[in-house]
């Protein structure tokens, strides 16, 4: 049994130092497709198939944990000596994921080449809801995303904690479901690209704000979150005219992503396909 090392939390200090390496890599990896085709000639079909399978599995395993996948990790762990046919391998892996799993490989950071998997299938309310610690987290996340959105797409961290405190969730008290909530919200959700956590300039002591991350934007939509808020407050979504027009504009501009209104409400970000449990306490919103 050959165990593989894993680093659970990416080392932030490595991020900056990669710039030059990435540039060189980019040059090697973005060859013209004619060149890639020539490179493929020297390899057997079976060799390339093997790499495609390994990459598909790698992507699936990482995504099950909602860890965004860095191209650097793909190259190091899977591609290795096959860098010159990388475009072919990644394209075929993407096609396989769509055809077999209904998952789309999406690059959420084109500068640092970071990927996530997004489902092509419409998510349905209460679908095979697996009530576990992950689903509960998504409930918490939905509440936070809603709060951020209704505050105009950005909220001060201290305001978020004030809101959560009314729900019995506090940053300095270990929570029986969420554990270290401060870490969950400001570290884990950020690493999973559900939230962005930025320092507010000219604040001393430092203050931070929270915004939606790229995964949140891909897995749910402003319209869905607005509908969630509206449902809780038993109001028409159009009551909030600013948020409504923003949400409508987003729907119109995203022609390829699943609208999520087929087959019932779908609210909030999701794990593999259960929708967010709407058991999150409402009062605060």
């Amino acid at each position: 049994m050959a165990p593989k090392r894993c680093s659970k939390w990416p080392d932030p200090s490595q991020e900056e130092g990669l710039a030059q390496e990435e540039e060189e890599e980019d040059f090697a990896l973005t060859q013209r497709s004619s060149q890639v085709q020539r490179n493929l000639q020297r390899l057997s079909g079976a060799q390339v198939d093997q790499k495609v399978s390994e990459l598909v599995q790698f992507l699936l395993v990482k995504d099950q944990k909602k860890i965004p996948i860095k191209r650097a990790d793909i190259l190091k762990n899977i591609i290795k000596d096959y860098k010159d046919v990388y475009p072919e391998i990644i394209n075929r892996a993407g096609r396989t994921l769509q055809q077999v799993f209904g998952l789309r490989l999406v690059e959420i950071d084109t500068k640092h080449h970071v990927y996530i998997l997004v489902s092509d299938l419409v998510r349905l309310e209460g679908e095979n809801l697996k009530q576990d610690h992950l689903t509960a987290r998504l409930g918490l996340l939905t509440v936070i995303l809603s709060f951020i959105y209704m505050r105009g797409n950005s909220a001060k961290e201290s305001d978020v904690w004030d809101m959560l405190k009314r729900l019995g969730v506090e940053p300095r008290k270990p929570h029986k479901l969420f554990g270290d909530v401060k870490k969950l919200v400001t570290v884990e959700f950020v690493q999973q690209k559900y939230l962005e956590y930025n320092r507010l300039p000219s604040t001393d002591p430092a203050e931070f704000e929270l915004q939606w991350g790229p995964r949140a934007a891909k897995e749910t939509s402003r319209m869905q979150i607005l509908q969630f808020v509206a449902k809780i407050q038993s109001k028409d979504p159009k009551t909030w005219s600013t948020q409504y027009s923003e949400a409508a504009a987003e729907v119109l501009s995203c022609s390829s992503s699943p609208p999520g209104d087929v087959g019932g409400d779908s609210q909030g970000p999701r794990r593999r396909k259960p929708s967010v449990s709407s058991s999150s306490p409402h009062g605060a919103l």
Partner: protein, 262 residues
């Protein structure tokens, strides 16, 4: 016959993948829902055929939806497994080297034990003997919790055994690496982690398989050496709720009441 993947198949696969392992009746409901949502042809007793279509497409990826039996209750479970036998691929990216070493040593204890269980005390004692990197007992306790949550181990009364999902995924690996040390059930011929063993000739049986084989026999005898079978026979509660997945050649056991061996 073109076996096409439909969105119904894809949804089934996505949901199964998120659960890791799924009990038979839950899988059947999921099958029905997926077909209804995507307007795919549905026949209530054709789950195995439905799964075969998915497996056809998973084959080139060295993955498969496998059907197995729980050693506790004899019920059928479905899990998405990795066919590559050389490493614990799925685990490998979730756990650090010393965590994997702890898991392997735990697996050793479990497989070499008579009951198929390893006590938490014995496992924690391994923690500071790890070759890769020593681990404190507190850390090891957390790792065990994670392993249970991820369904590699299951826990009962402070003792640990392999989760059904783990057995389904690693059966081939275990048989290859432990060889004669790993027991096989005399009735269904699959790997048996928990088993009843004949004290005379040494053959073993899964508890649900024993329950089914010895059903209603007042004086059970070993099928191999004919000696009196010295163990309490698990009771079969009711016929397994699956009515008709009879097309499969997989083993299945009745629901046993999970009577513990002495």
């Amino acid at each position: 016959m073109a076996a096409q993947m439909t969105d119904g198949h894809r949804r089934f696969l996505q949901v199964l993948m998120s659960h890791g392992i799924m009990e038979g009746s839950v899988a059947r409901t999921l099958h029905k829902d997926c077909c209804e949502i995507h307007k795919v042809y549905y026949a209530h007793d054709k789950l195995d055929d439905f799964i075969s279509v998915v497996n056809l497409h998973l084959q080139p990826l060295f993955m498969q939806i496998r059907k197995g039996m729980s050693e506790d209750d004899g019920r059928t479970y479905y899990a998405l497994v990795n066919l590559a036998e050389t490493e614990i691929t799925k685990m490998a990216s979730d756990y650090t080297e010393n965590e994997l070493e702890l898991f392997r040593k735990t697996m050793d204890l479990i497989i070499l034990s008579e009951s198929g269980f390893a006590s938490s005390t014995n496992i924690l004692n391994l923690a500071d003997q790890l070759k890769t990197k020593k681990m404190k007992k507190k850390e090891a306790e957390q790792v065990l919790q994670n392993l249970v949550q991820d369904k590699w181990l299951s826990e009962r009364d402070g003792e640990y055994t392999l989760h059904t999902r783990c057995i389904m995924e690693m059966e081939q690996y275990i048989l290859n690496n432990y060889q004669d040390l790993a027991r096989k059930c005399n009735i269904c011929r699959s790997l048996a982690i928990q088993s009843q063993i004949c004290e005379t000739c040494g053959i073993g049986m899964h508890l649900p398989c024993a329950g089914k084989y010895f059903k209603a026999q007042t004086e059970p005898h070993c099928p191999h050496c004919n000696e009196f079978w010295p163990h309490e026979i698990p009771e079969i509660n009711r016929p397994d709720s699956q009515l008709s997945s009879s097309a499969s050649t997989e083993r299945r056991g009745p629901s046993a009441s999970g009577t513990r061996r002495r």
